[in-house]
Symmetry: C5
Subunit: 307 residues, 5 copies
């Protein structure tokens, strides 16, 4: 147990030893074990965007076992997926990598102004499958957000009672926000804070842009001269918004297409004090050797072995 992991666990003083054990498992797995940094492989895109859009570029990914293997071989801290994908490999790969059951999901077969998600898992299912944590998406800005907050709250309570950790995907979206606002720095920091207040141990947000969405917030950012000019500064601000850095905040990529741009984002996350990345499509939509190399570079940046 490294000093850094011990320190991080110290932030979660209200949790029972069971949850701390599972948080420790997440932090002590894979290439980045013990560093306090995390790279997680999430694969729910088949459900979210459809199977061909997700897996046709690298058809090996149609097979649920592929993603277990990829996450293990790449040295990820954890693998996160919906019920079906986890069920299809949990026995074969039992004990080889921490699992996160993504408990709600959305598809794109209907376009809504105010999106919601379907409940596709349960805490009991997560325990049946040997998971260390449950994952849940909220959409701050959607007309359904209050119900979504209520649902994750109840699930988080049950998860914590059962010694699981709670990961919240906080994705601003819906009629309360402009398209640009979804990744605005004020909105992203707000989204991270909401997830923290709802009791998340680990918070996932998108890498924010410099845009300021809400007038009332804009005034404060300007008056107080909050530093949000560079990606690293924005990461630092979001981490600060999540209880002054005392909650684990990880980031998913922005619109970056080129690997080098992704690596730059990772550097910004690292420099801003972020805790890591959750990288889906950039991982599983290329051939495995390339994916392993790509993820190795990402982890190297976090570990300090790659600049």
């Amino acid at each position: 147990m490294t000093e850094r992991v011990r320190e991080i666990l110290g932030w979660y003083g209200s949790d029972n030893p069971g949850t701390l054990t599972n948080l420790a498992r997440l932090l002590n797995s894979g290439t980045l074990a013990g560093t306090g940094k995390l790279v997680i492989l999430p694969v729910d895109q088949g459900m979210e965007h459809g199977p061909a859009r997700s897996f046709a570029p690298n058809p090996a990914g149609y097979d649920p076992r592929y993603h277990f293997e990829l996450a293990i071989e790449a040295g990820c801290n954890a693998y996160a997926a919906p019920l079906g994908f986890l069920e299809a490999g949990a026995r074969e790969f039992a004990g080889r990598i921490p699992l996160i059951l993504k408990m709600n999901n959305h598809d794109v077969l209907l376009d809504e102004r105010d999106p919601d998600q379907a409940m596709t898992g349960s805490v009991r299912e997560a325990m049946r499958l040997g998971c260390v944590a449950v994952g849940f998406t909220i959409y701050p800005g959607s007309a359904h957000r209050l119900e979504m907050y209520g649902r994750i709250r109840a699930i988080a309570e049950e998860a914590k009672q059962n010694g699981l950790a709670v990961v919240v995907w906080s994705y601003p979206r819906g009629s309360g926000l402009s398209k640009e606002g979804e990744t605005g720095i004020d909105v992203t920091a707000y989204a991270a804070h909401i997830a923290a207040q709802l009791g998340a141990h680990i918070i996932k947000v998108k890498l924010p842009a410099a845009h300021l969405e809400q007038d009332a917030a804009k005034k404060v950012y300007e008056k107080e001269a909050v530093a949000i000019g560079t990606p690293a500064e924005r990461v630092r601000h979001v981490v600060q918004a999540a209880f002054a850095g005392r909650r684990i905040v990880i980031f998913s990529g922005g619109a970056a297409n080129k690997d080098e741009a992704v690596f730059d984002e990772v550097r910004a996350i690292r420099d801003g004090g972020g805790f890591g990345s959750i990288i889906g499509r950039n991982s599983f939509q290329r051939k495995k050797p390339e994916a392993l190399k790509f993820l190795s570079t990402v982890m190297g940046i976090y570990a300090g072995t790659v600049k």
Copy 2:
């Protein structure tokens, strides 16, 4: 226990022995026992379309016992029906054919743009009636889909705890889709994937057409040159979308009217690696001797005894 059945059961590593036992019963019943292929007789059309539209062409079908007899004599792997129909024969035919309780249903006495289904059964009822599985319809594309996913998830959890298998009818429909889109290959593959992610053991979809409904999907199909030109290729793609063939996917007929066209569809399912057919109206809307002959040909195609 054949090697093939053993292989198929191996895909369901997260299920308990009770569920595997019931899956094995399905795979080891009737004419196709042990082949890994399935032909299931479903009779919920009385509820879905009305009794006269369903049974007037062959009035013997008004009697619930008829369908038990038909399924048994034809050597089907299972008989699927709503509560009332199963209740009306479960004692008389106990132990003679695996039963699937169709747990939700819809009628056509009101036309909705975004359809939903009524809950007409429960896991407990399925157990009371000696069923091996529960069946459930979802409508991807309907405004009610998220709730439907949530319902089947909860039911599937309960069913699996009680050692039952879960069959999902995944029928794209609703305001998110054009009429043509309901059987588009992208939508059908997506529908099969959703059912798999929701934890279905057996997935039923319609035989897809070559139509591509969603622009974002279309681009990928074209860029990656996914093979969807022939019915068999489309079957293969749908099977691939359901966890690279590691979930049982069966098909219902398209608009085929002539027997020979149905047989061609069956050949396409067979050639594309599909696991079988679920054939309702084509079975029970003709006299029993003709139905038996018709189903015998279908099973022969799957078994390889008919070309």
Copy 3:
């Protein structure tokens, strides 16, 4: 126990001995005991239409005890009413006539295009009051029908576990149907079939008219030349639609005003193989001696002692 009652009980092979016992009580009570025919007195009109519209023509009916007495003296098989009416006499008349708790109700103080009903009873209340069965109304054709089906399903499951029988009033109504369609023969047969599929032991529908409401159904009725020309033929068709006569189907009157017209309807029900009548207003809206005479004639027609 007559052969006919034994035969009827044989249709309900999935029910426990408790439910069969209560079905037998219904079939073995009153004037028609043992014949397999039923005449039931239902008095929920006070709730459905208001007290004065229901009871002012024969004010004795304001008193809940009156209806118990009427049903007993007339030799009805059972008396069906909402909670309040049953509570007001269940102790005094305990054990003298089978009771059916009407568990949902509607009033006319608000006019809706798509009607629903309030839950006004429970299975536990039915058991507290010594009932043999619960009664429940569904409105096929209403936008609320799917929820109604779900409710009766859950109630029926609980009722059967507790050894009660289940009576479903299936009344097509709502925005899916024209006014004429509510009693169309296709719709009535469909409504009876739905009730049977939902697990009803006894189904109550209105005596249908020759009207065909749905185009898709009309084509089949014409193509298959389904006999629906006379009232008796229509009764026969509805009975057939309810599992080929293996469910008890009873009828309420149409618009008949004159007694002789009612008797003709009863003859049609008898000739068409119907199982009996449920007669409310025609029974309790006249003086008791006249009501007894009227009901005696009805029962005589069923028993064969009146032509």
Copy 4:
């Protein structure tokens, strides 16, 4: 135990001894003990209309203890109020007067066409506070009425199991009715009947006017020449509508402002066979000595000691 109280208890043959005991407590308390007549003090106007509108005319009424004292000193049969008001005096006045927990409430901070009420109490709370009964408002005529009926049904079942009595305030209101219709005699009688069918032991309605709201009802009232010309006749009709007088029906005042007009109403209730009054604002919005005198006259009219 007077003969009259024994007779009244005899109407509730389906209730357990616990509920009869609490009904007897209500009937055997205060000035009118044993007469079968009731005067109840209800104080929920603070919640329903606001505190100043309710209590500024007699500021002593801001103090919850005042109403306990007033009810006790006046010799009322019971005191009815929402949770907070009862909690604030139940210990101090324990055992001195029967209490009724008003379990749902409405405020006027938002004006709705179809009103509903908030659940503000529970059966368990009623038992914790030593109440003899629960009270509940329904709004026949409102689009929410079916849900309200369902709620009171469930509460009544629980209350009766726990030996409490059930009082229903039946107030026609909502988009199904004209303003005048809310107190129409047909609607009031209907409202009383609905409450009785829902299982109420005691029913509270407003003193009705001669207006007939519904055409279908009007025809019957005219054809059958139902006597509704005088207030006493209307009371008699409403009492008849509540199971021919076998349910306790009490009345709240109409628009009467002058005491003499209220006394005339009370005389009409008495002469029409009503069971008493529920008098709020006329009691607590004047100084206590005046209120005691006022209530003494009311009770005298019921007791026969005042003409």
Copy 5:
């Protein structure tokens, strides 16, 4: 235990000793211990307005531990916050200051005409974290108010059974009210009364303005010449509306910006018989030394050591 605290506890005669113990803890903590006055630090603004708007002016406040320290050092009676903020310090500061779990919350990422709040805590969570009370916001005037009342009722019942106290934030808002009406004296008094009727032990309202919102109320205020001219008179009226002063009513600031104006408000609360203040932004949005000085003055005014 001072006489005053003993007196206050005497108002809550229906509560169990557990709840009284926790009320006593609130009243006997901090600088104002034993005086019957309260100053509470609430920090839910991060969730309600966003983190930067809340904490950028004094970035120390991003750290959840800061607010525990501030409340303890300032001698507040209690610290109130949502789940996440309490979880992040409850172990470190266990036993050092009474905690109130704010159980529902709202954000401003979507603007609604009729606001509601998400459930973000539970009674069980409050007990896990060692809280003395739960806090809950209602919005009288919102179309969601009836549901909100129902929710807090159920929560309050559970909290009281478990020996917790109940604090209700009663904030008029929504389509039933004008903007000015939200702090109108009639509406504020009404809001306090509603909270009291719902069973709150402690009620928090905004310091009201002289505006009268509702016509029916205005007439009574004018007719009865209710004194509402000065802030202290309005405080007195609100306290009176909450059971004649037998419920603890505390106030949050109006629009005051200058400290002196806040102190004047505090003097008005004191002079009007209010029980104290709940002061968020004015406390944590300045440097700690200034905040301590500011709060010391506030407490001094209540304690009588500052004029």
